[in-house]
Symmetry: C2
Subunit: 148 residues, 2 copies
């Protein structure tokens, strides 16, 4: 009785790491990869349903959760109380610069160096993890903004 129809499944299940291949997840992963820069759950849902109508918001949230567990989707901040997400396949330890103009996300090498660790250690503290987000302008927006 459901109006749910079978959608052809595609291959980029890679973003999930594990789990079954469902047409919905494939469509969601594809849409996530197609997003330009950072996005919010609701935006991803809109993007997916514009291509494959009928995919529920809960399914999108579940897919987001799965990709986050797999480490291929990360939270890069927040916007209006919503988690700001971005696909991230870079393997090494790094952080992200979110363009405040267009939402683009670019990887940035971790600025936490020996100096910081040692300064903390000097006070007796031990840094075990950290969370860093940079905001600014991506190269494209910077070039567009600056009138040399």
């Amino acid at each position: 009785m459901s109006s749910r129809r079978t959608i052809r499944s595609t291959e980029p299940m890679a973003l999930y790491g594990r789990g079954r291949v469902s047409a919905q997840r494939a469509a969601i992963a594809k849409a996530a990869e197609a997003m330009s820069g950072a996005f919010v759950a609701e935006e991803l849902h809109r993007a997916v349903t514009s291509v494959e109508p009928g995919i529920g918001l809960a399914t999108v949230y579940r897919a987001i959760s799965a990709m986050q567990s797999a480490g291929t989707l990360v939270t890069v901040g927040e916007r209006d109380g919503c988690a700001l997400l971005a696909i991230c396949v870079r393997g090494d330890h790094h952080h992200h610069l979110v363009c405040t103009e267009c939402g683009a996300v670019v990887g940035i090498d971790c600025p936490i160096d020996e100096t910081t660790m040692r300064a903390a250690a000097r006070e007796g503290h031990l840094v075990t993890s950290h969370q860093i987000v940079l905001y600014g302008l991506c190269a494209r927006c910077r070039a567009r903004t600056e009138n040399t």
Copy 2:
């Protein structure tokens, strides 16, 4: 008909920067300063009402908002989906190390240096702001944990 009673107002309105002196705000500021380390809105509310019953949760949220605007209260992360807060009166630019053991918050010098800014600039990007939170063990908890 209200059971609200007059509470003596204290002086530490300093955390608000501006605004009128109300007994409630004074009590909230006092409780916030008395908290050991980072806390959540609900915890601050409990702390305040344990001393001055009758103060509403909305009032606590309003006070939090006011202190954040004044820059004396900052968000240092989140815990179980709730904003993790901490009093911060240090004037210079810095960040915080939140002890994952006891919740203590200690100021840490900003690790974003010329190197990072230049690395971003090399790619054409411009970093305008950033957000950093360090997690680890404060000196006290580190000492307690390590059995030399």
